[in-house]
């Protein structure tokens, strides 16, 4: 079943067009990856879906509802949650307080305890650092916190903007493993990645963005084997 659908979405920054007529869908239960070079419009796509940017044309449908004009903070209530690029945690709040902020938009307070347990199961490190201030943690821990915080709103769709950015290789593998686990627990994941190898290997389907347009699409495996992609993104060829 289609969870998220973008139809002909265009986004402008002033007069500069960042996204041109983007259309794709994300089905329930999938992991979908968007890959592309710097400036291809990956983060713009994410911010448009989470509502921080408005699209100038096109339509976004989420769970059968038109959310094109919906404010970002209401989209959270409807089940779209984002771990922003560069982590975007609250540096002056403790881990627990950051996670608490993740529940801000929730109506069902009774489910909070369950989600907290889930986050601590996925990231035992966060449990250890419960009382530490977000800004004093390492990059990898901050990334875990950003993902954990996004999960605290119990989203249907989790948006991950470059979860592997600036992390050590073993951390990257760990993060992708956790993303897989989150997906197995029933959360649909849409991620944006520069690390095409890992992202394509972990994703059910993937799209390649180039200068604001989708140029390739297919299953993760297909794209991994596509020679032009190999050359452009995987560094082999």
């Amino acid at each position: 079943m289609t969870l998220l659908e973008l139809e002909g979405v265009s986004v402008h920054y002033g007069r500069i067009q960042a996204l041109r007529d983007i259309s794709f869908t994300v089905n329930e239960g999938e992991v979908v990856a968007l890959i592309g070079a710097n400036g291809a419009g990956k983060t713009t796509t994410m911010r448009t879906i989470s509502g921080l940017l408005n699209c100038s044309e096109g339509k976004i449908t989420f769970a059968g509802e038109d959310i094109t004009k919906m404010k970002a903070h209401i989209r959270v209530v409807h089940g779209i949650s984002q771990a922003p690029e560069g982590r975007g945690i609250f540096p002056g709040m403790t881990v627990m307080e950051n996670l608490d902020m993740g529940t801000f938009g929730r109506k069902d307070r009774s489910g909070v305890g369950k989600d907290l347990d889930r986050v601590f199961d996925l990231f035992p490190r966060l449990k250890e650092r419960e009382k530490q201030y977000g800004g004093t943690m390492s990059g990898g821990e901050q990334q875990m916190l950003a993902i954990g915080r996004a999960l605290m709103s119990n989203p249907k769709l989790l948006l991950l903007d470059e979860p592997s950015m600036g992390l050590a290789p073993q951390f990257i593998r760990q993060i992708f493993k956790i993303i897989k686990e989150i997906n197995n627990q029933g959360t649909t994941v849409l991620m944006v990645e520069q690390n095409a190898n890992q992202a394509l290997a972990g994703a059910h389907r993937a799209f390649v963005l180039e200068t604001g347009e989708i140029t390739h699409s297919g299953t993760g495996k297909q794209l991994l084997e596509d020679p032009s992609i190999k050359e452009a993104y995987l560094g082999v060829g």
Binding site: F90, M93, F104, S153
Partner: protein
């Protein structure tokens, strides 16, 4: 509005926190160095303060409050501003600045919105009181005390008026727009005939009541009753703002201050809360303006310039943005120093400039830095909501105040 939805259970939360802190500092002496990474820049006194039980805190606070009320009567020899300035009037002026700083602290300290035109709200409050009570004003005249809530409502309206179009801007852009707003209000007071420009309004009203000999209690020359009135208002406002700070609203403000985009995608309606911060800050500024108009008894367009705005901001930054007690202290100091040291009053902007530079270098969080304790209450609430046992065995182990208070204690012992 969600302004009313539950302040977290303050007493129990604080008591638990204090208990945790004490337990943490009595435990694990050897572990404290391991936990240095959780340490925050926070003062020795604030750690000591949070280690006290709620009852001790209240006892200490009531002594401070009683002393504060007695201040103009005691007229302590070194602290006094006499013979240069009447001490009771100086106390009123300090209280007025403190109240303004509390209001501006909501905008600048909590929500992180830089407001350089705060004097505009102060001016609106002053003009409200003057135009509704002064015999120079052709309009409806009402008893002075009624002008206080009216001034608050009107300035709140002005706050929303300014906020709705401008709060889409961020950072420097917002600061420039507020700077412009401050000037607009001052110039309007000059050019609108009904506001009488430099001529102004005389004999602004005051609260009722007369002494045995028929002179009014709240006279222009007697600062004591005005000081008591303002101090009472400060206490009420601080309690209200404190509750707001610990509520959902306060958490939203802090989140906006820390990272606005992240707050928005956590489900915080950032625009709504920013407008609320503006409106509440404006209302407190207006209240202060109305009190000022009443005490001085005369309002014209001369007192509401940009430098006054900057002075208000300096008070908040000096005291510690985000900490209401710090704001009170900063406001009182900014008013007190030129009154006490009359010889250097001419150089007050120079002195505050240097003081601010020094504060930024050596104590960038202000005299009393803000601690993000409010969300610790949020955490307690979370534990309650999710019916998890709040007193988990490990929860007392490394509470944020624990290591630093321990370390501070050791430093104190060595010294």
């Amino acid at each position: 509005m969600s302004m009313t939805d539950g302040p977290t259970p303050l007493h129990t939360a604080a008591a638990e926190q204090a208990a945790e802190d004490r337990e943490a500092s009595s435990k694990g002496a050897g572990k404290s160095d391991l936990r240095q990474r959780g340490k925050r820049k926070s003062g020795y006194f604030s750690d000591r303060w949070h280690a006290l039980s709620r009852q001790q805190q209240w006892a200490f606070l009531s002594i401070v409050v009683v002393l504060a009320y007695l201040l103009p009567l005691l007229n302590p020899p070194i602290i006094t501003t006499e013979p240069g300035n009447n001490f009771a009037l100086a106390c009123f002026d300090m209280a007025r600045f403190a109240l303004i700083a509390v209001g501006l602290n909501v905008v600048v300290g909590y929500a992180g919105l830089l407001d350089l035109g705060y004097v505009a709200f102060f001016a609106v409050g002053s003009y409200c009181a003057a135009m509704l009570t002064s015999p120079d004003s052709p309009y409806l005249h009402i008893p002075y005390l009624w002008t206080l809530p009216i001034a608050m409502a009107v300035t709140m309206f002005f706050g929303v008026m300014l906020g709705v179009p401008t709060l889409r801007l961020r950072g420097d852009y917002l600061a420039i727009v507020t700077l412009g707003f401050g000037e607009i209000i001052r110039i309007l007071a000059t050019i609108i005939p009904a506001m009488k420009g430099q001529v102004g309004f005389q004999n602004v009203g005051h609260p009722p009541g007369t002494e045995a000999d028929g002179t009014p209690i709240f006279s222009n020359s007697n600062g004591v009753p005005w000081y008591w009135l303002t101090l009472t208002i400060i206490i009420i406002v601080t309690l209200l703002v404190g509750n707001l700070e610990r509520s959902r609203v306060g958490r939203a403000w802090i989140a906006i201050r820390e990272d606005e985009d992240a707050a928005e995608i956590m489900g915080v309606p950032t625009f709504k809360y920013k407008v609320w911060a503006f409106a509440i800050g404006a209302a407190i500024g207006g209240l202060s303006g109305a009190l000022f108009a009443g005490q001085v008894g005369f309002v014209n367009n001369q007192k509401f310039d940009v430098t006054t705005s900057i002075l208000f901001l300096a008070a908040v930054v000096l005291g510690g943005a985000g900490n209401k007690v710090g704001a009170i202290l900063g406001g009182a100091l900014v008013s007190y120093i030129p009154l006490r040291f009359t010889a250097i009053a001419e150089y007050k902007y120079l002195i505050f400039g240097i003081a601010l530079v020094l504060i930024m270098i050596f104590r960038s969080q202000g005299l009393l830095p803000a601690r993000q304790r409010l969300l610790a209450y949020g955490r307690t609430a979370l534990n309650k909501i999710t019916t998890r046992d709040a007193a988990k065995p490990d929860s007392a182990d490394d509470s944020p105040a624990g290591p630093s208070s321990r370390a501070a204690g050791q430093r104190g012992a060595e010294a």
